[in-house]
């Protein structure tokens, strides 16, 4: 059976003051039906742009340079890159078959419409139904994401809701057409820690009930550990490691993944002094780097790292883009 979504060699470029930035530079991954794929990386690594590219929502000054986004929709499997970005089919997919939740619920909701209107809009764009029925469905959706007094909230504007409530409304809005794929772009980053936990619980609950797949984007490894089935780690527009979530946390292969794990406070148990930061900074996206993009910051850098770009390789399930793992050198690495 083919996966629900398969991305192959996706490249997205942006034009900046300093030249062309390769925000997404040959990314490939796939999501099976019913699974949750976590995408991890620092800000600016291209994870958000990737998610927007799937929905063909890359705004100028960015554009999709090349690649395939194969989506097994309700009717047939098709390449989203080949569809017109604002055509009828693409619009039917957006919200109807692939829905999205954004990072900042304050700015992602339209301030001049009630959240009820905005939710009903999401429904009626895809299903023709009388206004009263749409309204009922929306209120039911609000109730199902744990919004108290949904009837009353229905008539309220985004600024009248707390951050957590806004994000719940966003989730209700995304889920109302029962999509096959939900893209969640850092859905908890902008929230307070306690609210974060609540929204994550909600998302986990949704995930259990929901038979579709989730693409979960975050920079927080702790969140990934609780949410995802599989994980890809991105660095400077490339996938550097891809593994089932358990394997990634037990045996991280890429030095960058190891660095991320060591610098995540929620994952280092007990001894706090072990918390480390990764040396150096992410190079400018317009800067061209020969060889592995992580080489300038890598503690295990070898001469060949600066010459050629390592391919994503390894087993069927756990793969890393690092020369340390290309020639069965895992033992050697562990000894270091």
């Amino acid at each position: 059976m083919s996966p629900l979504l398969e991305v192959r060699g996706l490249r997205v470029n942006f034009l900046t003051d300093r030249g062309i930035a390769r925000a997404v530079d040959g990314v490939s991954f796939s999501i099976e039906s019913g699974r949750t794929l976590g995408v991890v990386g620092e800000s600016g690594c291209g994870k958000s742009v990737t998610s927007r590219a799937i929905l063909r929502l890359v705004d100028p000054p960015g554009w999709i340079e090349s690649g395939e986004i194969l989506f097994a929709g309700r009717e047939r499997r098709e390449d989203l890159v080949k569809l017109p970005a604002n055509g009828r089919r693409m619009r039917a997919i957006r919200g109807g078959e692939i829905a999205m939740i954004f990072q900042e619920p304050m700015t992602a909701l339209n301030p001049v419409f009630t959240i009820g209107d905005q939710t009903v809009e999401a429904l009626r764009l895809h299903r023709s139904m009388p206004a009263a029925e749409a309204r009922e469905r929306a209120v039911a959706a609000f109730a199902s994401v744990g919004i108290p007094a949904p009837e009353q909230r229905f008539r309220e504007y985004p600024h009248q809701l707390s951050g957590g409530m806004r994000q719940r409304a966003m989730i209700a809005m995304a889920m109302i057409c029962n999509p096959q794929l939900l893209i969640a772009d850092e859905p908890t980053t902008a929230l307070d820690v306690t609210i974060q936990a609540q929204v994550l619980d909600l998302m986990n609950e949704m995930r259990q009930q929901f038979d579709g797949s989730i693409l979960f984007i975050t920079h927080d490894l702790g969140v990934i550990a609780g949410m995802a089935d599989d994980v890809i780690v991105m660095y400077r527009g490339k996938v550097v490691e891809s593994a089932p979530v358990r394997d990634l946390f037990r045996q991280p292969r890429h030095p960058y993944t190891r660095g991320l794990l060591r610098s995540a406070p929620s994952l280092v148990k007990g001894n706090r002094e072990k918390l480390e930061a990764i040396e150096g900074t992410v190079p400018q996206p317009t800067e061209h780097i020969r060889g592995c993009a992580f080489a300038p910051r890598c503690a295990h850098v070898m001469p060949r790292c600066r010459e050629t770009v390592p391919a994503l390789a390894g087993g069927e399930q756990h793969r890393a883009a690092c020369f340390l793992h290309h020639d069965e050198t895992e033992e050697m690495y562990d000894a270091v």
Binding site: M100, F102, N110, V112, Y157
Partner: protein
């Protein structure tokens, strides 16, 4: 909401009072003897004397001020130096004529600018956008009286399609309204475009697109409704500009409006008419400001709660 309207009404009354006081002061700031000015340069000394007594110009200032305020509050702005008609009778019908001209011009400008500005922002950077931008640039660089004269020459003198002065039929409206409206339309289009470009760059636009909303709906429902907040302020300021521009337009097309009355009364030194015209003209601005404030609370749900 009612509290806001009330406070603005209080402001309006206060502004009107200040305005009257200012006009009174103005009367006395004008170089020369007011009685002599009113009588005319060649009037005999007896007439000047009688005017001085009749208007109380020989009284102390505060007495003059009080009696002036009293008269004005009773609706007595005096009589015109020339026609001897009560000022109120001269001014009031003019207000309607100016409102008709400025209103039509505003409607024209708002419609044109909302359409052109939105499409320009929708096709941002493309040929449509460039064309609209060039049009509006030429528009804001051509003063009303140049457009008006060219219009008169083309449609009135050369083609003889349209009347060029007065306001006795609907055809009389076309040239003045287009002249005044075109300038405002150019100005508004620029600003509507930048408001729309700004609104289209917001996060909720991506949300709307991600819901599958067609571009038409994204632009004219989600973005326009948000851009409306700054646009309403803009149009409110635009009413002021339009009224200001109507002074020139009325002069070009012999339009019997308040603006031309004001200019004529200055050129003929008809002080009572001038006072009345300036007072009502200024009060219109204050009223328009009030209306814009009220409109704004309607357009932005956040204002009434914060």
């Amino acid at each position: 909401m009612p509290r806001l309207i009330l406070s603005r009404l209080v402001f309006m009354v206060l502004a009107g009072f200040l305005l009257l006081s200012f006009l009174f002061a103005l009367f006395h700031m004008i170089p020369g003897d007011p009685a002599r000015l009113m009588a005319g340069d060649n009037a005999p000394e007896e007439l000047v004397q009688s005017i001085r007594r009749a208007y109380g110009f020989d009284q102390p200032l505060h007495v003059q001020y009080l009696s002036y305020m009293q008269r004005v509050l009773m609706g007595d702005f005096g009589v015109s130096n020339y026609t001897r008609q009560p000022v109120l009778e001269v001014v009031l019908p003019r207000i309607g004529n100016t409102a008709a001209l400025a209103g039509c011009a505003m409607l024209f400008a708002m419609t044109v600018s909302l359409i052109l500005g939105s499409f320009s922002a929708m096709f941002w950077g493309g040929p449509v956008d460039k064309g609209v931008t060039a049009f509006s640039l030429v528009g804001i660089c051509t003063p009303v009286f140049v457009t008006g004269i060219i219009g008169i020459y083309l449609f009135g003198v050369y083609l003889r399609w349209l009347p060029i002065g007065g306001m006795s039929s609907w055809q009389h409206f076309i040239l003045p309204v287009l002249t005044l409206g075109a300038y405002q339309a150019a100005m508004f289009t620029r600003m509507v475009r930048s408001c729309m470009v700004d609104a289209l760059g917001r996060d909720f636009i991506t949300t709307a697109r991600a819901k599958g909303a067609p571009e038409r709906r994204v632009v004219f429902h989600h973005a326009l409704r948000n851009a409306l907040l700054p646009i309403i302020t803009l149009f409110g300021l635009g009413v002021g500009h339009t009224l200001g521009g109507s002074v020139v337009t009325e002069t070009i097309f012999n339009w019997p409006g308040l603006g031309r009355l004001m200019v004529d009364s200055i050129l003929t030194r008809d002080l009572p008419v001038m006072q009345g015209a300036i007072f009502f003209f200024a009060m219109i601005f204050i009223l328009v400001n009030l209306l814009v404030d009220i409109l704004y609370t309607w357009a932005d749900p956040r204002v009434s709660y914060d």
